[in-house]
Assembly symmetry: C2
Homo-oligomer: 298 residues x 2
């Protein structure tokens, strides 16, 4: 029996966007349509890996998202047999990146787009090199802001919210904190996170004009953390809790005190930040040691 | 047999938005899900018209849209028994407009929103008082601009378009013209329209950043006119036709010379303009006489 030679692998960074509505979340699961499952199947088909007796491509993601959560700035890496792909018959002389995007677009549905593909710099790891993830949560709390063309990714809330009170509360929970009160507990995993930014705004112009929007950046998130913070913020926006209540819940470290986890619908992973190329490997090494066993999804 | 007394009717203006994807167009049709059908059924339910033996509400629309075409700024009017509705048992003391929006939202799906309801000024007719309709057509011609969260209402086009050439061509066909070359012919109907604005742009910021976007305003449109103009523009954007070709097609008045009618997906009715209140009736009278038998949908 002939064993195919193991090819040298090249790490590719893919920038990915998806509408989470029709996905059962990020992580591959048998029988379910997931983003990872669709993306890996598309890569395998386009790269003809299984067809050539090679291992099917496996992707590593910056921010695992739950069912119904969207992404505009998701980042993954995948190690592929680039040389082998280059030499496949039928390859045009177009740039590889362009050819890869075209072929993936031909295989993937309209709710998932690979919009950039580049050879990753040395030391790059989509998950462990990341400095931070930024999410937005969008709410339409007035009929005039309910846009059916944006309904998939905006929560429709009945009754106006006091975004100034929500923002005041948010400012009080930023920084290096123990977010146990907003985390789904997981044995052995820390709930300490560096919440770099948590703001509520009602932009008057731009793509989110008229909506109430949270921008939330952290080095990492524990499971359900963003949606628990937003659910609790809404109670403040409704006037059911005072602005200083969020900090009090945080200080209690008791999940029973927080508001409900809000619907996935309004949540979008907007961006993942990485350090300069020369610091990628160092960052990955430090984070891998620290976080190997932790959740990094919100 | 008791015949219910015919109540005095009050004309209501409704501002409506919808995602056209899952509608078989505007106009009510048996067995099909249409915007008019859904909206009239919702009004009948909320106003309890049929239930009270009154005529079911019928709406008049500013811009009849085809299957798959979206709207953010659609306007309709409907004549309702406002006094009777006011006196229904169970009516709260909230403002009627707010109550109507709440109840319609409770009945309609997420892909159609009535976002404003007001008592129409005297002489108002959603269709015949309108001065102009403005549509936008959105195209993503680069992978970086393909956003799955906006996919429903943006055409994904493979290969970059020359928006400057498209815009140059568009400028040459504005004004009072015979658009026979871009109209589905209809016996007895004029094809002369006042095309007030036709521009192609690639905005660098705002909600359409990175997309190629047509803004098209006319007093009225004949059937398929916007989509025929856009389909022809794309040939120029691809470099398959010179910029002066659009004006030549227009001058030929021959539909066989134009490009294909483009997909509905990228087309959205953005706004309808009306004159000052005191001119509404006069405008309606003039247009009704002139256009009674004409199409006003693109």
């Amino acid at each position: 029996m002939l064993v195919p030679e193991t090819p040298a692998l090249t790490r590719i960074r893919l920038d990915v966007a998806y509408r989470g509505t029709d996905f059962a979340g990020w992580a591959r699961q048998p029988e379910l349509r997931t983003v990872q499952g669709e993306l890996e199947a598309a890569l395998d088909k386009v790269l003809r890996a299984s067809a050539r007796g090679l291992a099917a491509p496996q992707v590593t993601v910056a921010g695992r998202t739950d069912a119904g959560v969207h992404a505009r700035g998701q980042v993954v890496h995948v190690d592929i047999d680039l040389d082998g792909w280059r030499s496949l018959p039928g390859r045009s002389d177009r740039p590889e990146s362009e050819a890869l995007l075209d072929r993936l677009a031909g295989v993937l549905g309209d709710d998932i787009v690979v919009f950039a593909a580049t050879i990753a710099p040395s030391g790059f790891d989509a998950r462990f090199s990341a400095l931070s993830r930024t999410y937005k949560y969008r709410i339409a709390d007035r009929y005039a802001a309910r846009d059916p063309l944006r309904a998939d990714w905006t929560l429709w809330h009945r009754g106006e919210l006091d975004e100034a009170a929500m923002n005041e509360a948010a400012q009080e929970v930023t920084g290096l904190r123990d977010f146990a009160a907003f985390c789904k507990p997981r044995p052995g995993a820390t709930t300490i996170r560096q919440l770099q930014q948590f703001e509520w705004q009602r932009p008057q112009s731009g793509p989110d004009a008229g909506l109430v929007v949270a921008t939330i950046t952290s080095d990492a998130f524990c499971h359900n953390m963003v949606r628990a913070l937003v659910g609790s913020s809404i109670l403040i926006g409704q006037g059911k809790r005072p602005a200083d209540w969020l900090a009090a819940v945080l200080a209690s470290k008791d999940r029973a005190n927080a508001g409900a986890v809000i619907a996935a619908r309004g949540l979008t992973l907007e961006a993942v930040a990485y350090p300069e190329d020369e610091l990628l490997a160092q960052r990955a090494q430090a984070i891998r040691a620290q976080r190997m066993d932790e959740e990094i999804r919100p």
